[in-house]
């Protein structure tokens, strides 16, 4: 009869899993080094809520909205990034890009979603008279984005809001910590997205 320590040692995944990827480790390290410091350390959930309230009041006064991911919020807006292709293929799902007269073909897996976003805020879009939404990913999300875009250069990546493809830019460079979504958003839509995108 095996003892508890023996059972634990037999089941220990570190005893049989392959070594970790050093490339991934380097990306994660870089994502940490690129993290901006907070104005003050957040020591408790109560402090985090006070900090968020203060930032929201200050941001509203300057005409932008800025939420940090320091507490649990239910995501009211479903956000996903998926790899895509310009031609159909096995396992790909056809989707239309909102506001554009073209189709793309989505991979099944989600690269990042709401849980991988650390911050969301409204910015000037491209062209300058449009509205954009700047997203900063968590370190885990940054690593996933870096890994996905590294192997997908020159091909499209789809940004989905509530299941609808809002943009599908071509991946020109490895993307990790930040992304800007531009689309035919009204201010009200952008406010709804920024207010509802953070959560788990």
């Amino acid at each position: 009869m095996k003892s508890i320590p023996e059972l634990l040692r037999d089941a220990d995944p570190l005893g049989y899993e392959p070594p970790r990827s050093q490339t991934d480790r380097i990306r994660r390290r870089q994502a940490i080094l690129e993290t901006r410091p907070s104005a003050a350390p957040i020591r408790s959930r109560r402090s985090a809520l006070v900090a968020i309230a203060a930032v929201a009041v200050g941001a509203a006064a300057t005409g932008t909205r800025y939420w940090t991911r320091a507490t649990d919020l239910v995501a009211a807006v479903r956000f996903e990034v998926r790899l895509a292709e310009t031609t159909p293929g096995p396992g790909l799902r056809e989707a239309e890009i909102s506001g554009a007269d073209r189709k793309i073909y989505l991979h099944e897996e989600t690269v990042v979603s709401n849980a991988d976003i650390a911050e969301a805020r409204i910015v000037t879009g491209n062209p300058p008279d449009s509205i954009g939404i700047a997203l900063t990913f968590t370190p885990g999300g940054s690593a996933k984005m870096a890994g996905a875009t590294h192997d997908h250069l020159g091909r499209p990546m789809a940004i989905l809001i509530d299941g609808r493809v809002v943009m599908a830019p071509t991946v020109r460079a490895v993307t990790s910590t930040q992304a800007v979504i531009t689309g035919t958003f009204t201010k009200a839509e952008a406010d709804r997205i920024v207010g509802g995108i953070i959560g788990r």
Binding site: I4, A11, E17, R28, T35, P139, G140
Partner: protein, 164 residues
């Protein structure tokens, strides 16, 4: 100042990331979950930089406690959603002689470990798998040695009940 901060963060990561991953992997269900847990821990260190102690043993203790706290919050959320999920049980104590039985046994052990609160689970894995002594674990977690021994005793009792 920002160059110093980056240097210190890099040193923190290089010194502690591997060991934190080993702990995180034994507290979670997959390498991806463990990676995310470690990243969240270092994110907190990056954002609360002035809170991290300056000496090596203090750094490790701070990081380990933050990691366990993050895992505890995750565990509580999952626990509320899956309260009625059945525990995977298998007669593991007698030992598994073929690959399929061995896999089932591993899953049963992991399923049983998932039932332990993260701090207790961390104490068990640090003691039984990392070979850390009670006093070292107590110092790392900011607990009395007696409390660590109690957690070990409760964990063994719970695992025995779940696995045999």
């Amino acid at each position: 100042m920002s160059g110093q901060r980056e240097e210190r963060l890099a040193a923190l990561f290089d010194a502690h990331e591997e060991r934190l991953y080993r702990l995180a992997r034994r507290l979670t269900g997959s390498p991806d979950e463990a990676d995310d847990l470690v990243q969240e821990t270092f994110l907190k260190a990056a954002q609360s930089f002035v809170s991290v102690p300056s000496e090596r043993s203090g750094e490790e203790a701070w990081l380990v406690r933050v990691l366990i706290n993050i895992r505890r919050d995750q565990w509580r959320r999952v626990r509320v959603r899956t309260r009625s999920a059945a525990l995977l049980r298998a007669p593991v104590a007698a030992g598994a002689s073929d690959p399929e039985s061995a896999l089932i046994a591993k899953r049963a052990v992991w399923s049983a470990l998932d039932r332990l609160p993260p701090r207790r689970r961390a104490i068990v894995v640090m003691h039984e798998l990392d070979g850390r002594g009670v006093d070292a674990i107590a110092s790392l977690l900011g607990l009395a040695a007696m409390t660590v021994r109690w957690h070990l005793s409760m964990a063994r009792r719970d695992l025995r009940r779940l696995l045999t």
